[in-house]
């Protein structure tokens, strides 16, 4: 069985609600970091961080460049920057052009994380109204990582999970309440 080392999550429209549900269901002793890109369009993610921290069973932080993601912690990409996982496993930021009209972009996080974690990565695509994340999820699958996509019919905005399924396919297509238990199970030590 694969030992997973990280979970990356992408969402946009409807994402705050979806993340709240997801984070509330995670095991408090999760052995991996959960790294999140959520398109918000706001100046910073302080508000988002506070809202999510209320219900989350794990601490929620903004990802800091050059720092190593720690197990059992949720990281949010800072507003206005792409978040990447460097070849040494540390976080890196960039202000390169928007991808899918977005910065941070899910594809950028997923592709860099796939290159670093290889098969030991789980990618999750949740609700959203554009197709960011589809190519990223494909990169994860190309590296033999695990892909989880929210059932489009279950998503507030179905475009993002649909695009992910079309471009990358998935190992699991599930409703929102089932995603946290699935991650808990896959990441059991």
């Amino acid at each position: 069985m694969t030992t997973y080392r990280a979970v990356v999550v992408g969402c946009s429209a409807g994402g705050v609600h979806a993340l709240t549900t997801l984070l509330a269901g995670l095991a408090p002793k999760l052995h991996v970091p959960l790294i999140v890109v959520c398109h918000t369009g706001s100046e910073d993610v302080d508000m988002l961080r506070e809202v999510l921290a209320l219900k989350s069973s794990l601490p929620v932080q903004e990802a800091r460049e050059r720092h190593v993601p720690q197990p059992g912690t949720v990281y949010l990409a800072p507003a206005g920057y792409h978040l990447l996982v460097e070849c040494d496993g540390c976080f890196a930021l960039s202000v390169d052009a928007r991808v899918c009209y977005s910065r941070p972009a899910i594809d950028v996080l997923f592709e860099s994380a796939a290159a670093h974690y290889g098969a030991q990565l789980i990618g999750v695509v949740l609700t959203g109204a554009n197709d960011d994340g589809a190519l990223g999820l494909k990169a994860i699958r190309d590296h033999k990582g695990m892909a989880i996509v929210q059932l489009p019919e279950d998503a507030v905005a179905s475009a993002m999970p649909e695009a992910a399924l079309r471009v990358a396919g998935a190992d699991h297509v599930v409703v929102l309440p089932d995603i946290a238990p699935l991650i808990n199970h896959l990441c059991m030590p």
Binding site: E65, Y81, V85, C87
Partner: protein, 282 residues
């Protein structure tokens, strides 16, 4: 000797990246070995794509024999993405907390490193003008991309950005309206030529070149994020050596100095705006 099996084989793309970086350095003198790899890889992929190459190895091969490709590659690797008065609160902090202290110098030298298309340097010029400090200021705006410098010198931006720029300007504490400083024509805005009178554009590569001037303020935002810890530290050392005693350094909003010993020379004076001051030299 360790054997390479299916489990520990380095990625093809990582090997190609290594080869490219070495070729560019040895043949053309541009050193990207200190750059953070993940984002460098992404940018190279798009250079490969837009140039119609099969893969990075093909580009490397061509580049080794064709000098003419180099400027295009460098401009493809540079990220001249910026805004006027990007993060307005930072410009407000400069205006309120740094300018009053700069005002005590008879002549003010400012170095803006990594000037992209000039968005920030013109922003700075406008605020200095309004503070009555521009006449005695010299601003050195540098970048390692000649293509970016050419654009910066023109001072022309898409008109669709004007709305955001104007809002940013006001949020930064601008005292007039931004429209006082530009003319618009054909979906472009062109900044007032007079803003350029004390700006000097020059090519300077932070990864290779030395002290550029003796500065009272260095603005280098969102450039060090592209460097690994070693190069970041070296460049911070370069800034330390370029600043006058008590000089100011302003970095990007999300930069972390936690792994740079050279950062010890700087004391934060506004941590949120990432404004630092060089402690008196020992």
């Amino acid at each position: 000797m360790s054997t390479i099996g299916p489990g520990n084989r380095p990625d093809v793309e990582d090997i190609e990246l290594d080869g490219f970086v070495r070729a560019l350095q040895q043949r053309h003198g541009y050193d990207f070995s200190g750059y953070a790899q993940a984002s460098l890889k992404r940018r190279l992929q798009s250079v490969v794509h837009s140039g119609g190459y099969q893969n990075l190895s093909e580009l490397t091969g061509r580049m080794l024999r064709d000098d003419a490709l180099v400027p295009e590659i460098v401009s493809g690797l540079s990220v001249p993405v910026s805004d006027m008065f990007r993060n307005p609160s930072v410009f407000a902090a400069l205006r309120e907390e740094v300018f009053p202290l700069l005002a005590s110098y008879p002549r003010i030298n400012i170095w803006q490193a990594g000037c992209a298309h000039g968005e920030e340097v013109y922003s700075l010029a406008i605020l200095l003008e309004e503070a009555g400090l521009y006449e005695r200021s010299q601003i050195y705006a540098t970048d390692f991309s000649d293509a970016a410098l050419l654009r910066a010198q023109e001072g022309i931006f898409p008109a669709k950005e004007a709305h955001t720029y104007s809002e940013n300007y006001l949020a930064a504490g601008g005292q007039r309206t931004l429209a006082d400083y530009y003319h618009s024509r054909y979906e472009r805005i062109k900044l007032d030529e007079r803003l350029k009178r004390n700006i000097h554009f020059a090519n300077h590569n932070l990864a290779a070149d030395g002290v550029f001037c003796e500065a009272h303020l260095i603005l280098c935002r969102n450039v060090l994020i592209y460097f690994n810890n070693v190069l970041q530290n070296e460049v911070l050392g370069l800034f330390r050596d370029s600043l006058v005693r008590g000089g100011f350094l302003c970095l990007g909003n999300r930069e972390s100095l936690d792994f740079a010993p050279a950062a010890k020379a700087f004391t934060p004076i506004n941590a949120k705006a990432r404004v630092y001051r060089l402690a008196a030299r020992a």
